[in-house]
């Protein structure tokens, strides 16, 4: 009848989190006998009687409603196939882009292989077949700039509360930045400023699980990223 861990502790798979029926297994945990065990490498979060884990690592799994950044890798009769930085590719149908596409038109007039797009996931089936759409404001082709990939579980930290962290980087580096839920980050600006923004994003990724990140990043960006990465 006891709890072995506290909120914010790091646990590894197989570790016992609690013993007895007083606690309930939440996300990424499971019950074995009377014990609750961890299923993932993550941070503990105890909410009342429920114990859940916030994963620290892992690939992206497509989820409806996420805005992600993708790369076109093939073109079919009815649309584009895009890479999503997950275990599954996605389909962007001609019906799901903001313009009307005639039936006999060459689809490369819109998007060609290698183009990067900002899209929204509209459907995910049980077998993880993914449909994406660009029929919303802000969903466009991303021309130029650089793409970097980060751990998708660190994306909320890169964006910050109401986008505070990403606007901080945008302000200090004068770059255009777009962060996809799939861990793909698009950065466009002057070469040196791009580099600073990339280093800033990588620093957030490395230190996402630590506290006091906003002050650290303000300082990092103010002295031009000189205090190491």
């Amino acid at each position: 009848m006891s709890l072995f861990v506290n909120t914010k502790d790091i646990v590894a798979p197989g570790e016992a989190l609690a013993d007895g029926m007083d606690y309930l297994p939440g996300a990424f945990t499971y019950r074995q006998g009377k014990k609750i065990l961890a299923k993932r490498l993550g941070l503990v979060n105890v909410e009342g009687r429920a114990i859940k884990l916030i994963p620290l690592s892992g690939r992206y799994l497509p989820k409806v409603g996420d805005t992600i950044i993708v790369e076109v890798f093939d073109i079919t009769m009815s649309g584009w196939l895009v890479r999503t930085n997950s275990a599954y590719h996605a389909m962007l149908s001609t019906k799901d882009i903001s313009r009307f596409v005639r039936r006999d038109e060459d689809l490369t007039n819109y998007f060609d292989i290698g183009d990067c797009l900002r899209v929204k996931i509209v459907k995910v089936t049980s077998q993880n077949l993914v449909d994406v759409s660009m029929k919303e404001p802000g969903l466009t082709k991303l021309s130029g700039g650089k793409i970097i990939k980060v751990n998708p579980h660190k994306v909320p930290r890169i964006i910050g509360k109401q986008g505070s962290m990403v606007s901080l980087i945008k302000d200090k580096t004068n770059c255009l930045i777009s962060v996809g839920q799939n861990g793909v980050v698009w950065i466009k600006g002057k070469p040196d400023e791009e580099l600073l923004a990339i280093n800033a994003v990588k620093k957030i990724e490395a230190e996402a699980h630590l506290e006091g990140l906003t002050e650290k990043m303000t300082q990092f960006l103010s002295n031009g990223g000189k205090n190491g990465i």
Binding site: I10, V11, A12, P13, G14, E15, A16, F28, Y30, Q32, K35, L37, K39, R40, L41, P55, L56, S57, G58, R59, L61, S86, A87, Y88, H89, S126, Q127, N128, H153, H209, L210
Partner: protein
């Protein structure tokens, strides 16, 4: 009964010194390094990722593939010819079975998780080191795992039950030797790998497995510590 003391002087139930570290290969989704004595294993995990050719896909769950490889000058004798051979294919297969029991890939149908283990130096117990490294790397990659898997070779030299045999002990000639690699789960103590080279009696085997239970528990704690250290402030 001539084997009175272990060749390298440690106790009967002691393993060689163990070092473990997670996150050593930056390009991989998860990685680990596991060293026991002179045997050194590096594991890199990629995935879940798309699986081709398509006939290998399983629509009900993702699959786990392991690739065990000894580097050309890792052994103590001749150069090992690079690439897969009969031995490495077998070990890759038993690794898949030892680890496949704990990884849960039902959220990733039709996909694969690939585990590559490279052994840069070997001194017996390489499949056990490979499994330990792979288990850390899988956890580091954020794959759902029901339990931690740890492996060790136990066995018998002459009339003594010992843990973690090295190469010279395996090749001991004054008496009978049995080398039993065992992989065990940390919580349930279920056995996921059990092989043997040599000969033992029933009692000796049971004693050896009891020993494996105690030793793998210690190894599991080292593995878990390595994972935690990766994110320690």
């Amino acid at each position: 009964m001539v084997y009175k003391k272990r060749l390298d002087g440690r106790g009967w139930e002691d393993t060689r010194p163990i070092e473990a570290k997670a996150g050593v290969i930056k390009n991989a989704d998860g990685s680990a390094y596991f060293k026991i004595g002179k045997t050194t294993a590096y594991a890199a995990v990629y995935g879940p990722r798309e699986l081709y050719p398509r006939f290998l896909q399983n629509p009900k769950t993702g699959i786990l593939r392991c690739f065990y490889n000894m580097m050309p000058f890792s052994g103590m004798g001749d150069r090992v010819r690079p690439g897969a051979n009969r031995r490495s294919k077998e070990i890759s297969m038993v690794m898949e079975k030892a680890l496949g029991l704990v990884v849960d890939l039902h959220d990733y149908p039709n996909s694969t998780v690939d585990v590559f283990v490279e052994l840069s130096q070997t001194d017996a117990g390489s499949r056990c080191a490979a499994i330990c490294a792979a288990a850390i790397a899988l956890a580091d990659a954020g794959i759902d795992m029901k339990d931690m898997v740890s492996a060790v070779a136990v066995g018998k030299i002459d009339d003594k039950i010992v843990a973690d045999l090295d190469y010279h002990e395996e090749a001991y000639e004054e008496g009978p030797v049995a080398d039993i690699p065992v992989a065990m789960l940390y919580n349930t103590k279920e056995i996921t790998l059990l092989q043997m080279d040599g000969e033992v009696s029933k009692e000796e085997l049971l004693n050896a497995l009891e020993l494996a239970k105690r030793v793998t528990e210690k190894i599991a704690q080292i593995q878990i510590k390595a994972l935690k250290e990766r994110y320690a402030p």
